[in-house]
Structure formats: C-alpha cells, structure tokens
C-alpha cells in the first residue's frame, strides 16, 4: 500500500464535519466529504456533487441537479433525500453546527426552504437574493455543507462516523497520535482536471496519515529523517531545504491576509492623519521579504491576488515614505503619544511583524511600544474591539472579494472599520449578483480603505511545504488546504 505521511500541529477535534471542527480538522474532513458546490482555484464557485445548478431570475431560488451514480463510503448511492437530510443536519433547527446561523437569517441569508425534488434535484429558496449564498454553502468550515449518508448518525441521533462521498474514508484514529484515511475504491470522480477544491479527483495514494506533531522543528526533523513525507514548514526552513538534494520545497501565495488592525476609536488613532502617517511609516515590502525569507512580496489589499477581483486598483497602497509620515504627524499635531502594538508569540509571525512595524514607526518619530500577550488575551482584545491601539493580526482565507472586506468591516465591536458608508458598500457587494457591479464596488471599497486606513495591509501569506522527493503531484492553492487526492508516490 502506498502511504503519504504528513503532520498536523494538533489533533482533529472530531469526525463530525461542520460540527466538531477547526482548521486542522477541516483539512482532514475535506478528503472524506463533498458538498453540492465548492471553490475553484480562482475562488469562483463550481459544482461538485451537483451536476449543475440554476439560479432563478429573482435570485431567490437555487435548483441543484445532482450527479448520478455517486456512491457513499458504505456503497449506497447518493439521492436528493440524502442531500436534504444532510442540509437539515447542519442548517436545520436542531443543528449543533455554527453553520446554522449562516442560513437562518441571523446573518443576511435566510433560507426559507430546502427540499429534495424527486431523486436528483434539490431546491433551496431564500427570503431575499444574496450573491454570496453559494460561496457560503461552499465554506470549508461547514464542509461545503457536506452531503452525508444518514447512517452517519446512530439511531438515537448521536454522531457515529462520517459516511461521505469523498475520495478518502475514515481510517484509524489514535487520539493525540495520528489520523489515517484510506482511499475510497468506489469514488466516482468528476471528469476533467482538479480545480481548486473541485474538479476531477483521482486518488492514487492508498493511505494518508497525519501524525500529530506539536512542534514545527520536530516535523522538520522528521521530514529529514524520512519519517514524514510532506510537512508545512516556515520560511526559514524553506530557505534551508531548498538546496538539499532529496527534498523539494513548494512556496505558494495564499489568501491568508496578514495585517495591522488599527483601533479608530482610540483618541490618538481617531485622527486619520495619524493612521495615514503610520501607513506611510511602514514598509510592507521589507517586512514581507523578511518574514518570508524573500519568497513573498507585499500585497496590502484585503483582496487576495489570486482573486478574480484583484485588479490594478487593489494593487495600490500608501507607499513607504518616512518624510510624508513625519509631515502628516506634524500636521496632526502628534506629540509623542505612545502607541502600543499588541502581538502574540504564535505561529504566523504576529510578533515579528509587530516588532518590525514598531522599529519602522520609531524611525518616523512615532513613539511605538510593543505589548506581547498570550493568544487568548489578544483574541479577547480583538473581539471586544478595545484594549489595543494597533495589533498585528491575520485573517484566514475569504474566498469572495466582498467577504474579504466584511472580515474587518461592519458594526460589530471587533470590526476595525465601522464607517457606515463602507459598511453599506460592503453589504452591497455581498448582495449583488452582477460581476461588473461587484468589481466596481470592490474598487470603491479599496479606494476608501486606502483613504481611511482602518487597517494597514501587509500581504498574503506565502505557505511553504517541504516534501521528500518521492512525493509527486503536490500543488498548493490559495486556500492552503492539502489536497491529498492529487498526490502520487514515486518508487
């Protein structure tokens, strides 16, 4: 049997997709389950278990035609009633999943009905049209609203095990030690090449095994020792491994956005000139180069470069210019008030980014101070939108340009950008179904973003993967999730 051994920095939280989950868990689940639609590599939505879908004129009714002959891991064939059951599992009243709130009107989208029609049609009706409905359905944290066989739960309704349609099925799970998935022999692939999280999936590796390794240095050592085949590595290790014979390194830009959130409610930072001065004082290019060992480059817009909505407009940002920064400070009457940057010692260079920003701000005459706290504390400050002036922060991939702004724009405490005009624009971008209109709104949003500086973008994180030379077929993509079905093992 061929096997690929990779690592996770923490154990999966469970086997119940969309319910017991976190980032690591989603990656494992993603191999076992599929939804009706999913993301392509440019983050557009493509059908997955649906053969095709149609959106009604008024944009409220979505009709999914299901693919035929798709088998569950237990050998049964997928029907529309399974889809309806699965939908209710996550989005129904009794759902334990956070995904339920995405569809019950709590957050813009209200699904009024989701019903099977016959054996191969599934229809969802919305109370109001909403452009990102499909993108929401495809969310990884909901397992793309995974379609599961009802036997996945026990008779009493409690969770048993995932019986999905994905190319891999659940294997051995030794808690705290490893998770194994076995290739699903009867997997019915779509035609064509793999595209993002969809397209044709023709798995060749029999067993995928994730070892739980809490420490990056250890997984790297294990890779060198040949005990692991494929691991996520940091920039430093990538630079080091690059030239080693039996290993290869993949570096790919992702949609993970590294940024500095500014607290506009703060007395000092409420002056936009100060915020702008800060943006001019910070050089994203140098910082990105430093934290990626030269692999990555700056891309300060919240919209990721691989997005279809990333244009020349999004490439603009307040450039590094110390003189300008000083002038702005002068103008704003800045008087050496202390500005603290909140950061944490956590993977993801939060601390390093903060430190470099601090040094640069000091150069421009800003009295910046670093405050390093434990992650839990920073997260709390983030959520409350208070207790910080500036913090280095990272947002996980948002695969719709509107959502890229939504993640820090809105009325909630935690959102850095509360300007009503911006919020309105952002909401608009989520509603429109017209691509051109969307692009126009996104462009306007970006201009306003640069103008008002609610956050200072740095760039989209470069993800590094180290592999032994026997691994073939690996390709990273913007969402950063491993796609084990593309892997091949050389002999």
């Amino acid at each position: 049997d061929s096997m690929v051994r990779t690592s996770l920095n923490a154990d999966i939280r469970g086997t119940n997709p969309g319910v017991t989950r976190d980032g690591n868990t989603d990656e494992v689940h993603g191999h076992m389950i599929e939804g009706l639609v999913t993301y392509a590599s440019d983050f557009s939505i493509i059908p997955m278990l649906a053969e095709s879908y149609e959106i009604s004129e008024d944009g409220r009714t979505y009709t999914f035609k299901l693919r035929k002959g798709v088998k569950f891991h237990n050998g049964e064939e997928m029907t529309a009633s399974d889809v309806e059951w699965s939908w209710n599992r996550l989005a129904g009243e009794a759902s334990e999943s956070h995904c339920k709130n995405f569809f019950n009107g709590e957050n813009n989208i209200k699904v009024t009905s989701a019903k099977a029609q016959g054996d191969d049609t599934f229809v969802i009706t919305l109370a109001e049209p909403y452009a990102v409905f499909l993108a929401t359905m495809a969310r990884f944290d909901c397992g793309s609203m995974a379609v599961l066989h009802p036997d996945s739960v026990n008779a009493d309704g409690s969770w048993n095990k995932p019986i999905g349609t994905g190319p891999y099925m659940m294997g051995d799970h030794a808690p705290g030690r490893y998770v194994e998935l076995n290739r699903f022999e009867d997997y019915s692939s779509r035609d064509g090449a793999p595209d993002g999280y969809g397209g044709g999936k023709n798995p060749t590796v029999d067993v995928l095994r994730w070892e739980i390794v809490g420490e990056g240095a250890v997984s790297k050592t294990a890779l060198l020792a040949g005990d692991l085949d494929l691991v996520d590595i940091d920039a430093m290790t990538a630079a080091e491994l690059k030239d080693q014979p039996n290993f290869s390194v993949d570096a790919a830009e992702s949609a993970v956005w590294d940024t500095y959130l500014l607290n506009s409610d703060d007395p000092v930072l409420s002056d936009v000139r100060i915020r702008r001065a800060m943006a001019h004082a910070i050089d994203p290019q140098r910082i990105m180069a430093a934290i990626t060992e030269g692999f990555g480059k700056a891309s300060p817009s919240p919209v990721p470069p691989m997005s279809a909505n990333y244009t020349d407009v999004q490439a603009k940002y307040l450039t590094y210019d110390v003189e300008k920064a000083k002038a702005l400070l002068e103008e704003a009457g800045y008087n050496g008030e202390e500005i603290t940057i909140l950061a944490t010692r956590r993977n993801g260079a939060y601390y390093e980014r903060a430190l470099m920003a601090q040094a640069m701000m000091m150069d421009a005459g800003i009295n910046a101070r670093l405050e390093v706290v434990e992650w839990g504390s920073q997260l709390e400050a983030y959520r409350n939108g208070s207790g910080y002036q500036m913090q280095s922060f990272t947002f996980s991939p948002r695969l719709h340009a509107g959502l890229s702004f939504e993640m820090f724009t809105g009325d909630a405490d935690r959102k850095a950008w509360k300007n009503p005009d911006a919020v309105a624009m952002m909401n608009e971008s989520l509603r429109t179904g017209d691509p051109e209109e969307l692009q126009a709104i996104i462009d306007r949003l970006h201009e306003a973003f640069i103008e008002e500086v609610p956050a200072i973008g740095l760039g989209h994180r470069t993800l590094f993967t180290g592999m032994s030379s026997k691994i073939d077929g690996f390709e990273n993509w913007g969402a950063g999730l491993l796609r084990g079905w593309m892997l091949k093992v050389k002999d």
Binding site: E240, R345, A359
Partner: protein, 280 residues
Amino acid sequence: MSFANRILGKANGLAGVILVSLVLGVAVLGSVYTPHDPLKSDLLNRFAGSSLSHPLGTDMFGRDILSRLMRGAWVSVSIGLSTLLIPVVLGTLLGAAAGYFRGWFDRVLIVVLDALMAFPGLLIALGLMAIIGPNRYGVILALSVAYLPAVTRVVRGSVLSVSQSEFVEASTTMGNSRFYTLLVHVLPNCIAPLIVLTTMMFGWVLLAESALSFLGLGVPPPEPSWGNILAEAKAHLMRYPMLGLLPGLCISVALLGVNFLGDALRDELDPKSTTSKEVI
C-alpha cells in the same frame, strides 16, 4: 586568612568569583552602556556575521547581538536574583517551621503546598499575568510561586533530620525559644542542600523565563533578556545556531559561576573543611 581570601584560595571559589564578577560586571555595564541600541533593528542587515561594528553579528531583525546580550545580562541577572529571593527566603522559613514544629502547622502547610504544586507553572503564570499584566514583576512572581514548594519541601526534609540531633535538644533545655533554636541551631545545619538548590534554581529561572518568553509571558520583548533572546532564536537554530548558542553560553557562564561559588561557599561553611580551620 579572611573569608574572602579562603574562598579565592580554592579552585572552585576562584573560578566562581571570576565568572560571577564577569557576569555582574557585564550586567551593570549593560544597564548603562551598549555599543548599539539593543532594540534598534535594521532589516537590511539581518543575520550579519561578525564585523567590526557588530562583533557578534546581528540577529533576525538586524539588531546587534552583543548589545542585546549585554542588556540581556542586566535584565536576566536582575530577574534571576529577585526571583530567587522569595522562594529561598520564604521557602526556607516555611519549610523550617514545618519541619521543626511539625503538628498542625506542618499539616496545613503541606496541604497548601500540595495544592500550589498541583498548578502547572504555566497556568500560574497565565493567571498572574492576567492580573498584573505581562511585565517583569509578573515573571518574577510567577516563577517565585512556582519554585516555592520545592524549596520548602527540601528545607523541611533537612530540618526534620537535623532537629532530631542532640544539640538541638541541648538548646531547648537551655530555655532558648524554639524560634531561636530553629534559626541558630537547626537551619545552619541544613545549609548544604539549600545552597545547591538555590544555585540550581538560578539556572532554572533563566531558562524558565525563556520558556515563558516563548509563550509571550516572559519579559515583554523587545526588551532583551537571555531567556527571550534564546526563545527568539528557536526558529533559526538550525541555520544560525550562533543565535541560540550565544545566549546559551551566557547562561552557562553565569550558572557555572554561581554554582562554583555556591560549592566554594558550601565548603567554606562546612566546619570540617581544612581551609576553614583556624590554626592556632
């Protein structure tokens, strides 16, 4: 011969004094003068090798390593010493009282200590930092609390043994108060393990501070301490081992000094050691 001369007359004493003075000297110097600003980063000059202006090179942010180590010496040594204060003084008193008076005091203390020890240092550190905020007092307090039970238990154990001695009984029969007996007769005879433990703890504190730093709980960066210099170097150990070896070396030197000095002190306090014999 004076006390100082006797210490200096021994190989370990001499080595201890030299190393400790070196470290203290650098620490004091580092608190007022460093060749470069230890906080000043220079992203164009990262991981620079040794040069005239940066004799030990620069780190991942282009900061001068020598300057950071010098300032770090001050921070680490002052934290290390202040951290030792609470557990050693309080632990000795508590342990001594428990071991000597036994009875309910001992029992209650043991209960409290067991309770205290049951909390991992990390948790205590987290809790304290939440209350005091992430600053060096938090570090000092958290580590002090973490090491208190060890000292208390070790002292208590020794006191249990020593207080069975007849000279302790002799003191009691003289109508000396129990406190006096404990202080003058019992404790000085428990000094050996205490010295060893204290000198070892100095090292633990420096390293523990490093571990805390890594979690964002130590001395708040960018202020350098040997511990957080070490912690920051972790990611670069393989490629730039010097970043980790240098602070490690500093810690080793300080520890060697303190431990040698402790050994010499122990020897000196041992009435049977040959050098302490006043020849008449």
